[in-house]
Amino acid sequence: MTAALEARTVRPQLARDTWNVLLRELKPMVRDPFSLIFSLLQPLVFLGLFGPLLVAQSGQDLATTLAWFVPGVLVMIVLFGTGATGSNLQYEMMTGSHERTLVAPLSRPALLIGRALKEVAPIVVQALVIVGIAMIFGFRAHPLGLLAGLGLLAVFGIGLGALSYSLALATKEHEWLFWGVQQSLIFPLLILSGVLLPLDGGPGWMRAVASFNPVSHVVEAQRALLGGSFGSSEVLWGWLAALLVALVGLAVGVRAIRKSS
């Protein structure tokens, strides 16, 4: 058997390598699915503690408030979970595991794309858990809209994941820099997206900035989709925003991984 292994030359292949990287990245999740539930703590806190406040503030009933808030919480999963995924790569860069993959005959872009694609799995699982819990409290989503909404989140998540990995590749072993940049981007993006509070009553400059925030468009599209409206302009803008984030994220990420050593 060892003899049969001798003198084999393996050439990088983008599709095959991406698939293998993706499978490897999925393994810890499959082995330990509980870790996914654990990272849902934050969105659940928002849902459980912020939700009642929103009900009191808006004067609307719980179901109406949830219809507005749950899509935002789903986007929040992507922002907080996927946005932080680069820290895993950073840790692997510091411990040596990333270096090992750089010496393997793998396509460099595959190392990033495979990782970014993996983000779809936790996003979908976590979103379904949140929707399930919200349904207990009266939340209702259009089934096809939910499916499309998950697709939208997935595309957005691939882009955000790729950006998070790019940040890890750029900040190298400086964990503080990674978290510093990550946190100072994520929170403004979150607040300026209308996930937590509607921006309608906010100052003009805030609404102006929000209109350029891709997260706002993804959130609004998510609300429309889960409400069963497929053809609205919000949905179109949301898809455009998500695709733009995905394209930019992958382009930046592939550039960063090519330079990694």
């Binding site: 030359t9 293998n20 490897r24 393994k27 840790y91 595991s97 393997a104």
Partner: protein, 344 residues
């Protein structure tokens, strides 16, 4: 490149720019390594060992010069090199969240092995590196020695022509180090893999490597078997204690005559000197002294270590060199460890 040469470098050079100052980490490295050799790169921190290894494993490009590894040019065909080498860096090759077995299977897939083949190979390596008891644990749960054994297994999954090991035993306790070496030696005997490693553990290079390349300030300053290096460059350290102080001067001239080396007075009855093949010389010297009526009460001959070789070559010991060498930029995280295990 002759057919049995697996590593061949020509004037391989690497320069870095650190804070606008150019630092040459490796200068004109020209070496050939034959199939099946176990070669150790020995040198102090910042000598350029890791940088050389990183060039040979395609992690960083050389500034000038070239090299071919396992039949492929490191610059023209890095993926060819990658598919034929195994690399165990200074860190842990396994990802913290992955299970041991999963990492080996993934590694097999990375090297284009089919499902059956990689399962078979994983089982084989789990058995030969004795990973059974923790094969379903995650890497973060392993001890340092266990991680290192996994790293080596990962480096061997695809039966590489050359296995590069960067400081394989640094940070391990003596027992784990001995255990790791047993595995390296056994695996090499089994698969005939060429092993190229860096170390600053003198006694490891001495004991296990068939060929030692001493590196200092970016250059290879000696390249031979440890035994030859020691015999040619350092000699045995001989100490003689006489019964009477009055015999010291005569004994000293006998030493000079026979050993061709000046003897140093340790105290009024003790002489010390260093001579190539000193141990072989000692019986003759004792007979000669006896013949002259000089009685020797104790005689010791201490064989040289590679540290003595380094001292002879550079005028300083490896331990001292480690303290004074500035770290080259590429090695700041990997060559800043303390020198341990000096045999003197």
């Amino acid at each position: 490149m002759p057919s049995d040469t697996v590593i061949s470098t020509q004037s391989l050079t690497k320069r870095f720019t650190v804070k606008k100052t150019e630092v040459t980490a490796v200068t004109d490295l020209s070496i050939d390594v034959r199939r099946g050799e176990l070669v150790a790169f020995l040198g102090p921190n910042g000598a350029g060992k890791s940088t050389s290894l990183r060039m040979l494993t395609t992690l960083i490009p050389p500034t000038s010069g070239g090299a071919s590894v396992a039949g492929y040019d490191i610059e023209r065909d890095p993926s060819g090199v990658r598919s034929r080498i195994g690399y165990v860096g200074q860190g842990s090759s396994g990802s913290f969240s992955q299970r041991v077995r999963d990492e080996l299977l993934s590694q097999g897939a990375f090297y284009g092995m089919g499902r059956r083949e990689r399962t078979q190979r994983t089982d084989e390596l789990i058995s030969s590196l004795e990973l059974e008891s923790f094969a379903s644990r995650t890497v973060q749960q392993l001890s340092g020695g266990q991680k290192r054994r996994l790293d080596i297994a990962l480096g061997l999954v695809h039966a590489p022509a050359v296995l590069f090991l960067d400081e394989p035993s640094t940070g391990l306790d003596p027992q784990s180090r001995a255990n790791l070496w047993e595995h390296i030696v056994a695996l090499r005997a089994r698969y005939g893999t060429t092993v190229f490693l860096t170390t600053h553990y003198l006694e490891e290079a001495d004991r296990y490597a068939e060929r030692v390349m001493v590196m200092d300030s970016g250059r290879v300053i000696a390249d031979d078997t440890a035994a030859t290096l020691k015999a040619n460059l350092a000699g045995d350290a001989i100490t003689l204690t006489l019964d009477e102080a009055t015999h010291l001067a005569r004994a000293s001239s006998a030493v000079e005559r026979l050993a061709g080396a000046g003897a140093e007075r340790r105290d009024d009855r003790t002489l010390a000197f260093t001579a190539p093949q000193g141990s072989a010389l000692l019986p003759r010297l004792l007979r000669e002294l006896d013949h002259e009526g000089i009685r020797v009460t104790t005689a010791t001959a201490v064989p040289p270590t590679l540290d003595d070789v380094f001292l002879a070559l550079t005028g300083r010991t490896l331990r001292d060199a480690d303290k004074t060498e500035p770290d080259s930029p590429e090695t700041s995280n990997d060559e800043t460890r303390t020198l341990e295990g000096s045999t003197r």
